[in-house]
Subunit: 547 residues, 2 copies
Amino acid sequence: MQGLMMHTPLTLTWILRRGLRMFPDKEVVSRFPDGVHRCTFAELYARVERLANALRALGVKPGDRVATLAWNHHRHMELYYAVPALGAVLHTLNIRLPAHQLGYIVNHAGDTLLFADADLAPLLEPLADQMPGLRGRVLMPDSLQGRPRRDGWLDYESLLAGAETRAEFPEFSETTACMLCYSSGTTGDPKGVLYSHRAQVLQCLIAGITDNFRFSERDTLLAIAPMFHVNGWGLPFQALLVGASLVFAGSRLDAASLVELINAERVTFTNGVPTIWVGVLEHLRRQGLRLESLQQVLIGGAPVPKPLIAAFVEEYGVALREAWGMTETAPPGRPNIVTSAIDALPPQERARYVGKSAKVGPCEEIQHIDEAGRVLPWDGETMGELCVRGTGIAGAYYNNPQATAAAFHDGWLRTGDIVTIDRFGNYQVMDRAKDLIKSGGEWISSVALQNAAMTCPGVAEAAAVARSDAKWGERPVLFVSPRDSAAPPATEAILGTIAERFAKWQLPDVQDIRVVPEIPKTSVGKFDKKRLRELLQAQRAPDEATS
Amino acid sequence: MQGLMMHTPLTLTWILRRGLRMFPDKEVVSRFPDGVHRCTFAELYARVERLANALRALGVKPGDRVATLAWNHHRHMELYYAVPALGAVLHTLNIRLPAHQLGYIVNHAGDTLLFADADLAPLLEPLADQMPGLRGRVLMPDSLQGRPRRDGWLDYESLLAGAETRAEFPEFSETTACMLCYSSGTTGDPKGVLYSHRAQVLQCLIAGITDNFRFSERDTLLAIAPMFHVNGWGLPFQALLVGASLVFAGSRLDAASLVELINAERVTFTNGVPTIWVGVLEHLRRQGLRLESLQQVLIGGAPVPKPLIAAFVEEYGVALREAWGMTETAPPGRPNIVTSAIDALPPQERARYVGKSAKVGPCEEIQHIDEAGRVLPWDGETMGELCVRGTGIAGAYYNNPQATAAAFHDGWLRTGDIVTIDRFGNYQVMDRAKDLIKSGGEWISSVALQNAAMTCPGVAEAAAVARSDAKWGERPVLFVSPRDSAAPPATEAILGTIAERFAKWQLPDVQDIRVVPEIPKTSVGKFDKKRLRELLQAQRAPDEATS
């Protein structure tokens, strides 16, 4: 028997209308190199209407893919709403990908229209005639005052100025696709995740609840996580849903610019990868600055060094909240939560449950499995591959049956992350499955090693990978970058510091601790272990010949 | 183009599993006349499994309607989960309805099985052979220790003891019906609202968000609002979703019992109709008691006297949060919220926006219309009939095309409530459409009159209704009950106090202010204006003959 409730679809169009109707005076603030742009939600809505009409005039139909290559700013947000409101799909391109990958993605997605920031458009120059499906290109200003032009490109503001003012948005089912984002996977071709309106709206509701990020209309959100990365971790939608003002940092992501922006706009919540916050901490300390309004930071994309978390809460009163998520799991992450049940434990036992990577959120379920696919116990110790399912989780990759078959099994997404899960449903990411170091048949967590190394005096960052070993199968190699390049830490001292936390066989040999000027990073700021392994291969080739 | 996310239905079964898996140690506490029953979420889950198996053994199939006639307690909660988990429909009967209405509802719903508390079962005695569809009756204990028996009734605990222990719950679409509740409408036959799993889950998510009731696993919820009234305003579902312990007050709803329970269980959140809180306030003052843990009370079902709100916040630090809702709009209500935009206004202007009945929540939209169906402006002054639509709103009545045609128009539910809406989307219920007093072609709000009267010294409660008037069409009559029956307030004094807040034509004549020992109430505690009108009719008949 079916219920007799109204069939109201959960769509981004509804979030847009709510923002206009309930919070017309809240602001979207975009920083450009030469100044700050401000508009109210009401003004944003009016521009989204014009943009939607312009898109229609350019031939955009339901289901069409429209690509963006852009920083975080109000125009990008207008596209976030106008394209899905037409039943079309916004495809955000990662500006840090090499040209050939951008070309692959644009063609694989079948994008028909492209919007690019003026300073990013040159990235596509090498691909001029390699994206035959593109019917049009639109250039967006990269500064507050400038109106750059480019041959063969339309101008965004002219397009809006020439468009009809009022738009009627079509109705469609909530399972309609709204956004497309390719995973920046470190192996193989990028894989497309095709989000639905329903998933986005539900994730916003879930992220906002009290035991997650407790978003309120009294918040001011700063979107540091790029809008080309998992929909800006959902903030452009969250803002209009709860009525929080939204700030975009644009292209200047250095620590000084971010701290200035946070304090100037009285930001309460922001997000980003750990490396950004390492830089912010150093800047704050060096300059003796405060963070006056900031309360919470959602940290994702890579494991967060515990000393970083401690420093922010103790010195600045800011909660860095580690959360887990991936392109396939729809933003934003599921933050770790210290529940009352954990608080009630004796101190020693309590320590076993705090500071985990994440906790299962509403509307999703998790399990972890061994290599044979057996479901493992939630004992906080047994390591296995994390599997997730729920309303915010991808069920397949876009037009990629092979990658789909590899990742999705029996209704679960196999994440490739190795975790432990405790009895409260908190999970700790121990490693990527492919980054685990298997020594003498036992697993060593590369993440545990590098986290320990990052607590050593003089160490800025650390990353561990496996080298092949004739006797043990694999052995760990630890790369460290010095805090001060003039006084790099001694490898013996590092080994001495981390030794007490590991079994002897889990430790790298002292000659396997390598001090390098900098740890290489991927396009989204994660440690690039693929490059580290190549480095190792190149360095070791002569050794191996002689060993 | 369809998105490629997982198709995970939003169901109460999922909430149940979440409660078990994430919060196994949280408690459900039920107070009985002879003691308190406690069980953990894990124990509750195990009993729900047994109950589901027992229901199956009794022949319950997907779509079947199973009725309850019960107070708030853990067994009722087990039915809240076990029946919908089977794809069947839990039909909660209002224990305060007269027998003939209960019979009408049971037969109209087509209930096949009935669960009743031992002390309530006699209510059905007069209907013994008038409910031919009922295939079975199950008696639930009305005390902690007792195991009452009744001829022709099965015993709940024996049923569970004899059932299989583990249950597999079926999968079904989220639009499947889960609960059925008949509106206690003061006119006509009761009308059935058939809630879907989807609507219940979404309402829980929405009610929990920070700018609504900010439910957290650190809360302890006390369900005072009866479970037969709009699904206990959603608390039995909310508790397992967020991981908050849940307390049931059972059948003792006097002020002393409630205050004792709130303090003993460290309740942080509860709910109820205003009259209960009038009694609690008097008890607290008289006994010099505190409310040690309580933070918020969701008040609904009737307009809340402003002095009551002020007294609780000033004397006890408890926020009574008025919210609007009806059987047709799925619980719980939408609380009024003082947003940052309102806070930022000059004090005098600010006063125009605070203390409203409600604010539009996520996933719903409102408008108000005049008698010709024209949409009215959100100016905070223009009165019109409130219309709502959204995920939590009924789209039709169960098996009642006539009532459906009367209430639902163009995708909107016409609520019968007369409201003003301000520019922030806060709305103020001015009256029920049928309770408005139309004098000389202009509307007088009966609610505004009675609220004003309840601020007068010596007045406990007040209710206004219309009397017919040859010259003006209608004129207001104000019934007041004295705080102290030995010293009733003077009608001239009341008129004097309220006079300054109304235009002269809006005021009742002094002889139309009637002091009565008590204001009659409906089965859910609202002022019973139907009875007041009857009273008036009976009293006035001789007058009218002579006027």
